[in-house]
Amino acid sequence: MGDGNNTVTLIIDGKQVTVPKGTSILEAASSAGIFIPHFCYHKDLPWEGTCRMCSVEVEKAPKLVPSCCNVAADGMVVHTDTEKVRQVRRSVLEFLLLNHPIDCPICDQAGECYLQNYYQLYGLYDSRFRLEDKVKRRKALSLGDMIILDRERCVLCTRCVRFCREVSRSEALGVYNRSVRCEIGTFRDEPIVDPYQGNLADVCPVGALTSKKFRFKRRVWFLDRTPSVCASCSTGCNIYIDHSNGVIYRFVPRRNPYVNRSWLCDEGRMSWERLQSGSRLVDPSRRIDHRFIPMPWDEALEMVAGRLMETVRLHGAAAVGAVASPAATNEENYLFKKFASEAIGTPNLDFRADEGHRTFDRMEDHLLRRLDRNPNTRGAMDAGMTPSEGGLDLDAMLDAAARGTVKALIILNQNVALKKAGASAALARTPFIVYLGEMNDETAAAAHVVLPIAAFTEKDGTFTNFQRRVQRIHKAVNPPGAAKNALDVIAALIRKTGGGVEKTDAASVFEKLASETPAFKGLDYGATGGEGVVLR
């Protein structure tokens, strides 16, 4: 029996399971590794108990009980796989499929559909219903920017309704009409206005709500899945990057109970579009007037190193300014700092081009989004990407550049020209600017040499979110064109300016970072996967 008053012990399929008081039978079973089929139950939504798929046999109970909305009690004996239970699951499936159009060939959910999966386990019967008698409903109804509703496929589990009511609080969806005419919809079919509506396609267990952006793009079984972290704000929501043949097709939330639970905002969800938009930097190049002339990597690195060393020789190391980035990984910032302070020897180092360092933990809404649009502001702060003794911060650097005392700027993946008011004028007067960037943006246009680097979907590393949770990102696809991993580029620059770096893979650089930077002391790279590690 359970110890004290906080836990209960019950027996599920012959296994003794101890869970906290108040846990449902379904969750107790899942904690013991026993899967109970369900439609309406969702880990991060309040229970409803409408689908009856999760019914199980409890000894001494007069009939089967839905396990998602019955609390596990001390001494309960539960059977999840008896003939009676299987029969109920078959019947539930038969009722759900009664009016289902079975248009799997054109349904985007096929391959990750609960109906399909359960039918393989418990169905496999011939329909007793004539095709012509099926109730026809509206198909392919557009509900807002992200969602398409197909009412024929709906199983009325109300997950979406509960999501809009309890999680995003937009109250957009509801169940209308009664009995066989029962259907999900918005008031007068008006579009959903909800910055979290993309999640509706994820919570829907069948193909009733599907994503408009992913519609017909790729069958899900062709997709490869790489765990990563969203880089659209300082929350650092955990995601899966779904990609195939080097092309990203979608981001889906990866459950992390401490960060984003099962959710992801629409802005983050679609942030991969920008990375495949064609406005990426693809070739190392130098600017002559307003045209960029591509050049080989070696030549470009040689030229950058040569110009920087010449500036140091003629005007001193303080004439070089280094701008790090809250969008770069911890490893990149660490190596960049090494480059600036050791290889070049300049004290001018800063990353604060926006208000991120003040707003990183301020919420934009009630759920996930934060005002700081950078994924790694805390990491840049922890890695000490600020001016050392006597150094200039970014404002002072730009001032000095405008006055002519700072002769060269090296900018790491941050659109300074757009983020800082008046930066464009200062950049225009700087004799030499190197930009290690992803996008062909305003800063790239102001730079003299552009070095294209990999985006967060194209490299390994760690981001530190607003909670100081260090989380791993993994490489999913290759960078476009000749773009390279920033770690390799910075390491090459260090080597060419007389410094030394041994290994440039993210794990080795992280090891160095953890041994040298107090904030990251003793952290293990391998431990940063999964739910991440919070720094103390």
Binding site: P105, L131, R215, F216, R219, W221
Partner: protein
């Protein structure tokens, strides 16, 4: 010439006998070889040759882009690009459908996987070409290449789901026996839906 050596005499006898076989075959008519390509064999009804993409009665491709053939294909020679169709009774249709005949191993898995009988096979096996690029057949070519117009019912090859009882000459290249796929009620619903603003 006199032959003293009995071994050489054996050779001579065998040579004459061999010539006899040759002469006998010269006048035979039931030989294993034929004068290809002037003469051709009758192929099996299930012969797996060059693919045919069937059409709906209105001429549009029968395929719904479910990607079953691409999934089943062991040679990875099929490439489909799906697109959206305004008609809510159809929804999804291929924008492009390519089969690389140089990679294809003519196993017929794609035909077996197809839920719409959109892909069937012909008995044609000669795929000569002057340009490698010609061997990637696109949707247009799979549906409407010249020879398809001249096909007789017996010329179609592997077609496992064909219901011969519904067959008539006209249906060779038209999908599942020209069957009405959607009930009149749904057609009507679809028409109403088209009038509503999206």
């Amino acid at each position: 010439m006199r032959i003293k050596d009995p071994v050489s005499l054996g050779f001579l006898i065998e040579t004459v006998r061999g010539m006899g076989v040759t002469l006998r075959h010269l006048i035979r008519h039931d030989l294993a070889t034929i004068s290809y390509p002037e003469k051709r064999r009758v192929y099996s009804e299930r012969y797996r040759g060059l693919h045919i993409h069937t059409r709906k009665p209105d001429g549009s491709p029968n395929c719904t882009s479910c990607y079953m053939c691409q999934t089943a294909c062991p040679a990875e020679c099929i490439e489909i690009t799906a697109g959206e169709v305004d008609d809510p009774a159809v929804e999804k249709a291929p924008v492009e459908f390519k089969i690389d005949m140089l990679r294809c191993i003519f196993c017929g898995f794609c035909v077996e996987a197809c839920p719409c009988e959109a892909l069937i096979m012909s008995k044609r096996s000669e795929l000569g070409m002057t340009d490698v690029r010609e061997q990637v057949y696109n949707l247009e070519r799979l549906m409407t290449r010249d020879e398809l117009g001249k096909l007789e019912p017996g010329d179609v090859g592997f077609r496992p789901y064909y219901d011969a009882s519904r067959a008539s000459g006209k249906e060779i290249l038209i999908g599942p026996g020209g069957k009405e796929k959607f009930s009149p009620a749904l057609r009507k619903l679809a028409d109403i839906e088209k009038l509503k603003p999206r």
